[in-house]
Amino acid sequence: MKSAVLVFPGSNREGDVARALEHVSGSKPALVWHAETSLPAGTDLVVLPGGFSYGDYLRCGAIAARAAIMDAVRDHAARGGLVLGICNGFQILCESGLLPGVLVRNARLRFICREALLKVERNDTPFTRRYSKGAIVRYPVAHGEGNYTADAETLKRLEDEGRVVFRYVMADGRRDDTQVLNGAANSIAGIISEKLNVLGLMPHPENHVDPLVGPTDGRAMFESLVGALERA
């Protein structure tokens, strides 16, 4: 698997996700600077990592979404290439129009770092095939602006098309939109593109791959990707 992790000024989880990818796939991803105009030849997977690109000034992800490298990411996605945006990466994908909607400040206006329970809504995507459908997984969140918002029409379309892949749930596995840790509409934690090749999510699977530092529920996402790319 050839993966590329983008680095914007202010990215800060590029190391975490590169480490997780290497851990699971055995090969080191390329780190690609935002000012580049192309991806390394043969890139299968592009990852937009967490962090505070450009300080998250103006709006989270807004400035990074307009970086030089993003045209190459758009082309890659249009060709059906895989794109994963985590946290700030998700925010960038929304700002760049690769995914619909926007992430605004957490409802309680505070940064929040804790473990969240998520329901895997579907396992027929390249990102989730190693999970069982409906599985409840534990990923940490660490964000101040993870409150997913979109207009009613967009939300309906996402739901009708089954494009919500991860949803925040309560300890008993129930969804409760009034109790979402960040206020996200429909308890949305992660969504996918129509062609199922671009995934954005707020929680951090890359921080839950190593048993020494926490649960390992995030591993299966990277294993899914390795599997998907081997088959392709």
């Binding site: 605004v104 400040r105 309680r108 207009d151």
Partner: protein, 80 residues
């Protein structure tokens, strides 16, 4: 020349910051505030002195960067 760009949330979009401020004002004992919505203002200094050109530049800036038109609207004003 100087201009001001106001970027505010569309009225249908929920504004948690505004809501929080309403609540805080109430608990601080500031009465008579019915609602608050928070937005951004950009004070921009432009080269040159041509208002039409300045307006075009700012529109471009808003569309390309300053506003996220999914949830926000913008307004350009010239001051002094």
């Amino acid at each position: 020349m100087k201009a001001r760009v106001l970027v505010t949330l569309k009225s249908a979009v929920l504004d948690p910051q505004g809501k929080a401020i309403e609540g805080a004002l109430r608990s601080l004992g500031v009465p008579g505030v019915a609602s608050v919505r928070q937005g951004k203002v950009f004070d921009v200094e432009l080269d040159g002195n041509d208002p039409a050109k300045a307006e075009a530049t700012l529109k471009d800036a808003c569309e390309k960067l300053l506003a996220n038109t999914v949830i926000e609207t913008y307004r350009i004003e010239f001051v002094g």
